[in-house]
């Protein structure tokens, strides 16, 4: 497809969707969103980008091989689950750290649960892009 508008629009849209997906990922614990939804949004952005500009461009824009992204995501998710062992808890027990905790406010929460959700995000993103790219290339 050689539509200039589509190409330009797809680039912009991909960036916007990527930012939006990160937002959905991070807010997921308290409002609708999360790793699955975030990963799907980011993947949609790149799939549109690939339709507009071709998969070669899309792969370049992605920087990493989608398969590796998915693999890394699974590794991160597993790592998050294994971290529970440091506190002597069962596998995949969430661990929390609240930075700047006060009486009323829990501060900035950091948790293995978030790390796990990032893993989910990466697996969904990588797997879908791997499927979409290789299909586009095969057709």
């Amino acid at each position: 497809m050689n539509s200039v508008i589509l190409i330009a629009g797809a680039r912009l849209q991909a960036v916007l969707l990527l930012v939006f997906s990160a937002y959905m990922l991070l807010r997921g614990h308290n409002a609708p969103g999360g790793g699955f939804i975030g990963g799907l949004i980011a993947a949609t952005g790149f799939v549109v980008y690939a339709i507009a500009c071709g998969t070669a461009d899309a792969r370049k824009a992605l920087r990493f091989d989608p398969g590796s992204i998915a693999g890394a995501g699974l590794g991160i998710a597993l790592f998050a689950g294994l971290m529970a062992a440091l506190w002597g808890d069962a596998l995949f027990t969430g661990q929390w750290l609240f930075i700047g905790e006060t009486e009323d406010d829990k501060g900035i929460p950091l948790s293995t649960v978030l790390i796990f959700d990032i893993g989910v995000y990466l697996v969904v993103l990588g797997a879908i892009l791997s499927i979409a790219f290789s299909l586009e290339e095969a057709v």
Binding site: N30, A31, P32, F36, L40, V124, A127, I128, I131, L135, A138
Partner: protein
């Protein structure tokens, strides 16, 4: 609404089964998607329907106020949708490759593993 959706699921199942019984692999895939939709909807309806009350805990509270929608089937359906997508994509690519290799989408003629005996 549960009754209406039960009827709708029945219709989806019937359409899906009819499509999956077709000889054309593409129709089979259409049926597969409908069936997975029907299954997701079944789980969702099985958890009962609650309009206008998402399962969220309001700020400053320890638990949701009043009756909110059943969160458990929602979690199940959410992952089922993603897994269903994986299954569908795999089936689609399999059909695609089968067509490339065999030159047909008619399942009666796809007999590489179990050839017809003469």
């Amino acid at each position: 609404m549960e009754q209406l959706l039960s009827v709708l699921i029945g219709i989806l199942v019937a359409s899906a089964v009819y499509l999956m019984l077709a000889r054309n692999l593409l129709r089979f895939l259409f049926g597969l998607i409908l069936l997975s939709n029907a299954a997701n909807l079944t789980i969702f309806v099985g958890g009962r329907l609650t309009p206008g009350a998402p399962p969220l805990v309001p700020d400053g509270m320890d638990a949701p106020i009043g009756d909110v929608a059943n969160a458990l089937p929602q979690a199940l359906v959410l992952t089922a949708i993603v897994i269903g997508f994986g299954l569908f994509a795999f089936a689609l690519i399999l059909a695609f490759r089968a067509y490339q290799s065999l030159g047909t989408l008619n399942t009666d003629e796809m007999r590489v593993a179990e050839p017809k005996e003469n």
